[in-house]
């Protein structure tokens, strides 16, 4: 609840800072993602993020295989909906979102709130854990696939 209130407060602040979001902006109408999550992230720790990834993301995701969700290696910096051979929701495919650390933070905060029509509902509530897992994904992005 406190996080939600803080998110809302920050979201309102952003709205005030940038004017009415979306009005007369360059954002095409069909891009249904919403800028309402915290923008200030704590520094992430990739080593801690490895455990967060296995425990919280590992039910559906792997770095190098499409499972219930798409493979994640290289996701940081990738355009949403473009992992090879994965069948995405139309909403995510046309979202226009680039997976910057900030956008990943927003996604993990509330995916269906960030991209309307997204299928993923999983939320990682803790900001530090989000930062850690994003740091892990960024660190793994440059490594070769694990073929064990």
């Amino acid at each position: 609840m406190r996080d939600e209130m803080r998110s809302s407060a920050i979201g309102i602040s952003l709205l005030l800072a940038f004017g009415v979001w979306g009005a007369a902006s360059a954002t095409p109408h069909h891009l249904q993602f919403t800028d309402h999550a915290p923008s200030a992230m704590p520094p992430g720790d990739a080593a801690r993020g490895a455990d967060v990834y296995e425990g919280s993301c590992g039910g559906c995701h792997s770095l190098d295989a499409n499972r219930i969700g798409p493979a994640h290696r290289g996701v940081v910096g990738r355009k949403a909906g473009t992992a090879p051979d994965f069948s995405y929701s139309p909403a995510l495919r046309v979202s226009g979102v680039e997976w910057t650390p900030t956008n990943l933070d927003k996604w993990l905060t509330d995916p269906q709130g960030f991209v309307k029509g997204a299928r993923m509902g999983f939320r990682l509530a803790d900001a530090q854990r989000r930062a850690d897992v994003i740091a892990y994904l960024a660190a793994e992005g440059g490594k070769k696939a694990n073929s064990e």
């Binding site: 919280s56 993301c57 039910g59 559906c60 499409n66 269906q112 997204a118 299928r119 993923m120």
Partner: protein, 199 residues
């Protein structure tokens, strides 16, 4: 639940027509399958089943399909010995129960349930080639069950229907039970701290 998911879709979702209220869905997930045949309540015209909830249930169903296949691969590997094999089959049965309940609920809500992938897809995705022992199978199962428990907890705040959120908690409890048994079978210590799951 983690995952932009799977192939099939919500294109067939009935939005805005006559749908079933969550009481029926929860009855199915609670094991009362007669609720499917005789739903107790219907939505008034103009109300809609939340498509986001159906999407989340379908992601969960994909996870259950994978779990069932993982235990099947383990059972057929010849690496599991009694009584571990019996426990694996028991847990697979739980996942089949989850699958059946989720499929019924998705259909009841007007959605289209995702189907399992091909065996080869699971073999590749789960890196089955690396499994050489009973311990390897237990470690894989432990990892999947931990992820599943956290996935079910992590989707709770996203459900628009709070009854489905409660069901998600029940599913998480089953997965946590599996994780605990597997952790003890592996001879690993249980967490010393509280609130291990769902952080």
């Amino acid at each position: 639940m983690n995952g932009e998911t799977i192939a099939t879709r919500r294109s067939a979702l009935r939005l805005g027509g006559v749908g079933l209220l969550s009481a029926g869905a929860v009855a199915v997930l609670g094991g009362c399958h007669t609720a499917m045949a005789a739903p107790q309540k219907t939505m008034a015209a103009g109300q809609s089943v939340n498509s986001g909830d159906v999407d989340i249930l379908n992601v969960a169903l994909g996870l259950e399909h994978e779990a069932i296949e993982a235990y099947q691969i383990g059972a057929e590997s010849g690496l599991l010995q009694k009584p571990v094999l019996d426990v694996a089959v028991l847990f697979q049965g739980h996942h089949k129960g989850h699958r059946d309940a989720l499929m019924s609920t998705i259909k009841m809500l007007g959605g289209v349930a995702v189907m399992p992938k091909m065996r080869d897809d699971y073999v590749k995705a789960l890196n089955v080639a690396a499994i050489k022992s009973q311990m390897d199978i237990l470690k894989l199962a432990q990892k999947l069950e931990r992820g599943a428990a956290n996935a079910y907890i992590g989707v709770i705040p996203s459900f628009k229907d709070t009854a489905l959120a409660q069901v998600s908690a029940r599913l998480a409890a089953d997965e946590t039970m599996h994780w605990t048994a597997l952790t003890q079978a592996l001879g690993e210590a249980l967490p010393t701290g509280a609130l291990t799951f769902g952080a």
